[in-house]
Amino acid sequence: MQVPAHFEYQRATSVEHAIALLTRHGPETRVVAGGHSLIPMMKLRLAQPEMLIDINDLGELAGITVAPGVLRLGAMVRHADLLGSAQVGALLPVLHDAERVIADPVVRNRGTIGGSVCQADPSEDLAGAFCALRAVAVIRGADGDRAVPMREFFTGPYETVVGPAEVLVELRVPLWSAGSAYLKVDRRSGDWAVAAAAAAVATGPGGVVTEVGIGLTAVGRFLAEEAEDFLRGRAATEANLVEAGRVAAQHCRPTADQRGPVDYKRHLAGELTTRALRLAVERAA
């Protein structure tokens, strides 16, 4: 039987309360959202926080709102809520594509988007999607809010810019893309990715790609800026989409593990990038 080590537990009644508790109790204190990454790690004693601050009562963090030009997603939005929002699916199909392949429906009832990005697992699906979309994280601490682009949010495997006495409150997703898509290869339904790619595009007259975002998952880095730089300003022709995939594959940094060797993952990164771009362009039309 797997049981976590001893810890204290307290429920936050507001974000400010959570920050005060994190500040007072020190760096061995952690926030718990859905608990679907943290609790398994605590059961395996890979994480041993001395205190957990439960933020599940904070309804203020559970909103999905569309403002002019931006989709605002509270950190406590559950995977199932994001997938259940028809508005999100219409505006940013990449998020629904990704949510459909995260774990299984029961896990998605509990896991949150904030917990997902704060966990910063290199195989995390939403990380690639939010990077492609150029989303911005809003992080609150004792001194107020700061905004950090998702592309600067991850500082390493399981590491983010969120400080020990800070809480991620919101993800702001700018609505610049006309089409977007997410494609993942996994070994079985609901498993973590072998590799995955997110793509978002805006197109202008003559099918020219005026802006593009590409995000990768499980291949060493979430970003594929070289491929974006190649495609931006070029026509969305089949040859250019294939070349963008080749560039993404060339610059990713997969490592071999039980999910596959480096060559295979690199191949997937390229092929999935091209296919996600193709689908995003189709959806933009």
């Binding site: 001893h6 609790i39 029961v106 509990r110």
Partner: protein, 151 residues
């Protein structure tokens, strides 16, 4: 915590998991406990009307909330339709996955009274069955949907 409509109060350690509170403290052993790693789904219960894996929820997190286990499926007129359909269609063999399958199926039919085979398979995909090959489980859920539509 209100479990199957009954209020329970306990002093617990924060590290106690919901599955163990239900089984060991409240004696509700219908909630099964399998992989312990959030994968098999044998431990599914409803918390505030939503299916969750109770091996990955702290009992303290469920404090003050509503929990429904397989023992709470039966209504005033006897077994729930999903229970009757699983029995009729041989939707179980050893029964280990069955409480979770029943609770998740009940939730599915409450939200989608006429699910397709694909929707059923997807809704139940977080729960592993090692016996049935799933065919009869899907058939049972379809049977329950038809029975409820007809009644």
């Amino acid at each position: 915590m209100v479990v199957n409509g009954r209020e329970h109060t306990r002093e617990i350690e924060p590290r106690l998991l919901l599955v163990h509170l239900l089984r060991d403290e409240l004696g509700l052993t219908g909630t099964h406990w399998g992989c312990d790693t959030s994968n098999c789904g044998a431990c599914v219960v409803w918390m505030d009307d939503v299916p969750v894996k109770s091996c990955t929820v702290l009992a303290a997190m469920a404090s003050g909330r509503r929990v429904r286990t397989v023992e709470g499926l039966e209504g005033p007129f006897g077994l729930d339709q999903v229970q009757r359909s699983f029995a009729l269609c041989h939707g179980l063999q050893c029964g280990f996955c069955t409480p979770a399958m029943l609770l998740t199926s009940r939730w599915l039919l409450d939200h989608n009274p006429d699910p397709s085979e694909g929707e059923i398979r997807s809704a139940l995909s977080g729960i592993t069955c090692r016996c049935t090959g799933y065919e009869n489980i899907v058939r049972a859920v379809r049977h329950a949907a038809r029975s409820e539509a007809g009644s």
